[in-house]
């Protein structure tokens, strides 16, 4: 009886090895990387089919699709890393339509020389985030670029989901009189990242808020099916998101500074750096807009969910042909909360 012996392949050195050009060449090395790292971490029935695409039955209802590229620096930060961030970012973009996210894809651009141990940490963090969210990564791609042509790892994820019937959440639906709610403390993610950049060496007990919000959204939609708008205030912070919604809805907005939830440490860090927490990124928060008569019910639903415990009603939509977002300052005056100009830079004197 003849026996076919399996070829011996030296396992990937996930402790000391580094990404090299062969890992993106389409040959054995790439197959091994996919098999021993990505497949092992993301394992699910779709990946096990070993096809270049995932096949699934289209679910009933309206489908939504969203994509998000992640280029964060540093790759590992207090409260998270690029891996879980890339899952949460896309899950949240899908969820902001009121949808239940179903599947994710993941595209990796790796820089030659990147430590495999770091890649393993990132991939495992992604796998954990996907598992926790209950949204499998069903297809993916890996490319390697030469040293100096990337920044370690870039990850692009795409997600699909399905919106329940009767839910119509869109950025154009804010109406004068509507209430504006936020789901919790603002600015945690951006400040956690900035505190870790090398040129700003100070210690802060602030962790990124990165989290998947579809569970919170499901609870909100169950309590108030007719939510008008939902959006996650990521880059550019709350100020940018409200300006986007005001423009889309052809309306104005007034928020109250005294009602905005901002942690003491975040306020202090922003003060120190000359930043405004309203413009600092969040990765686990959302803004909701609904009819005023639904605001209390929505707030109660948000506060009953662990990711919405510090939720608050912070303002209302008004009629304004200029689509300004204004703020009543805690000091007693009024000012515009404008679009962000350039990057947030520290003031010089």
């Amino acid at each position: 009886m003849s026996q076919v012996r399996k070829d011996y392949v030296r396992p990937l050195d996930l402790k000391h090895g580094r990404v090299d050009m062969t890992h993106g060449s389409g040959g054995r090395a790439m197959a091994q990387l996919i098999d021993e790292l990505f497949m092992a971490a993301f394992d699910n029935e779709f990946l096990r089919q070993m096809n270049d695409q995932a096949r699934f039955l289209p679910p009933a209802g309206r489908m939504v699709m969203a994509t998000d590229s992640h280029v964060v620096s540093p790759l590992f930060f207090s409260g998270g890393d690029i891996g879980c961030l890339s899952v949460h970012g896309t899950v949240n973009d899908v969820a902001m339509s009121g949808a239940q996210p179903l599947y994710l894809s993941a595209g990796f651009i790796l820089e030659e020389g990147f430590p495999l141990a770091d890649l393993k940490r990132i991939v495992e963090s992604m796998a954990n985030a996907a598992q926790e969210a209950g949204v499998p990564i069903v297809t993916g791609d890996t490319k390697v670029v030469e040293q100096g042509k990337g920044d370690g790892v870039f990850i692009t994820t795409t997600g699909v989901g399905v919106v329940p019937d009767g839910v119509d959440i869109s950025g154009h639906r804010a109406r004068a009189g509507d209430a504006i709610l936020v789901s919790g403390f603002l600015g945690d993610h951006g400040v956690a990242i900035m505190a870790q950049r090398e040129e700003l060496a100070f210690d802060l007990p602030i962790r990124s808020d990165t989290a998947a919000l579809h569970g919170l959204v499901a609870a909100m939609v169950e309590a108030v099916p007719d939510i008008h708008c939902l959006r996650d205030p990521t880059r550019g912070g709350l100020a940018t998101t409200l300006n986007e919604l005001a423009l889309q809805s052809r309306a104005g907005m007034v928020i109250r500074e005294a009602d905005l939830p901002v942690r003491e440490e975040v306020r202090a860090a922003c003060e120190f750096l000359g930043l405004d927490p309203l413009y600092v990124a969040n990765e686990g928060k959302l803004v909701a807009i609904c009819a005023p008569e639904h605001a209390e019910a929505l707030l109660t639903a948000m506060r009953s969910h662990p990711l919405g415990a510090a939720a608050a009603i912070v303002g209302e939509v008004i009629e304004d042909p200029h689509h300004f977002v204004q703020m009543e300052t805690a000091f007693g005056g009024r000012r515009i909360v404008d679009w962000l100009t350039g990057e947030q830079l520290p003031r010089i004197c």
Binding site: F324, F331, G332, G333, G342, R347
Partner: protein, 379 residues
């Protein structure tokens, strides 16, 4: 936040607003200039003007270091950045200021120049030490607050014998600028800008103290109140100014006693004295050439003076014809009186410097206050 929230308290603000309203004589008007961009920013950001009675008006002054630098000096910095082998280090606010033909340091960087944003002069020195094969130039700007840190790096460069580091010095002086405003025809003879008093700088005064303001308070009979940058500081200072006006006094008073003394920081003054000397005159945007209003690097430090090290050309470039930055910096015009404001000139596409820095009157007004402008149409 301790030591911060106390100075932003809404209830105290309302009480102070009531005090100002009681103090302000309804039969007359009050116009006070806040010299510093830091105050302009605070007034706009916290909506201080909403809390003032209608007959008390704030006039925005020229105290924004980015705004007062003439286009020629910005063009010179761009020229330096374009020299082979040079790394130009600049504070962030300067990067977006347009020079000639709309070119800025940021655009020069996109075209291949090595321009780096630094948070302090020490960062620039470090870049020089880390890049011994490159010429590192620090684009030094600012009033008396940022001058001592520049003096420190010049001393350190000399102590280290650092051969690849130099400073392009654009440090300017506050008292000379206030004097120039008071002597301008609009204030002194034409009366088009009635000024009843000044809110004096906060951080600048921590260095120079309150004494340098005394001669012109007395000579020009204008009260000065040195104020902190928090909104309650500003309101308290407005109240103190109104009281002085009503009582016919013209004194230098210090609201910012928690940081400013009469003599200021003598150690910092000595340091500046050792490294810098007065220029006979210096061009300011809006004010023209002002005598003894800026500093240059002393001869002993010439090897670290970019203007000695490089043949920096003298660029003389006029402001955009319709740009009112000059008049706005003198307090003659309000940003909304500029034809370019909010349409051609916005923070994304600034024509004049007042629209660039967050401390500039136009940027502060555009960013925080333009809902007050009747008929304003958002872009």
């Amino acid at each position: 936040m301790k030591y911060i929230d106390e100075f932003r308290d809404g209830a105290l603000a309302r009480k102070l607003a009531a005090d100002i309203a009681r103090e302000a004589d309804p039969r007359r008007r009050y116009a006070f200039m806040e010299f510093c961009g830091g105050h302009t920013h605070a007034i706009s950001r916290y909506g201080v003007e909403d809390l003032l009675p209608p007959n008390v008006r704030m006039v925005h002054g020229p105290g924004c270091p980015v705004c007062v630098l003439p286009v020629g000096r910005i063009q010179a910095a761009i020229w330096l950045a374009q020299q082979p082998g040079v790394i130009l280090c600049s504070y962030g606010d300067m990067l977006r200021v347009p020079g000639d033909n709309g070119l800025s340091l940021l655009k020069a960087k996109a075209n291949g120049a090595d321009v780096r944003m630094v948070y302090s002069s020490m960062d620039a020195l470090k870049i020089a030490r880390d890049n011994p094969g490159r010429e590192v130039v620090f684009f030094a700007i600012g009033f008396e607050t940022t001058t001592p840190p520049t003096a420190v790096v010049l001393q350190q460069a000399r102590a280290l014998g650092l051969g690849n580091f130099s400073v392009f010095c654009n440090h300017v002086l506050t008292p000379a600028a206030i004097q120039a405003i008071l002597e301008s025809p609009e204030v002194s003879t034409l009366g088009t800008v009635p000024l009843d008093g000044f809110i004096g700088p906060a951080h600048v005064s921590t260095v120079i103290g309150s004494r340098p303001y005394e001669p012109f308070a007395a000579n020009n009979h204008k009260p000065v109140v040195i104020s902190g940058f928090e909104p309650l500081d500003v309101m308290q200072s407005i109240l103190m100014l109104a009281r002085q006006v009503n009582e016919g006094r013209a004194e230098v008073e210090n609201e910012f006693t928690r940081a400013v003394s009469r003599d200021g920081n003598r150690k910092a003054q000595a340091l500046v004295e050792e490294v810098f000397e007065l220029r006979e005159s210096f061009e300011w945007r809006g004010l023209g050439r002002v005598p003894q209003s800026a500093l240059r690097i002393r001869e002993e430090f010439a090897p670290w003076d970019a203007e000695c090290r490089f043949p920096v050309p003298e660029f003389s470039i006029a402001d955009h014809k319709a740009c009112e930055c000059g008049a706005i910096l003198r307090g003659v015009k309000h940003p909304r009186e500029c034809k370019l404001f909010g349409n051609v000139c916005t923070p994304e596409n600034p024509v004049g410097s007042c629209m660039v820095s967050s401390e500039g009157a136009c940027a502060a007004y555009y960013t925080y206050g333009r809902f007050r402008q009747p008929g304003f149409v958002a872009g």
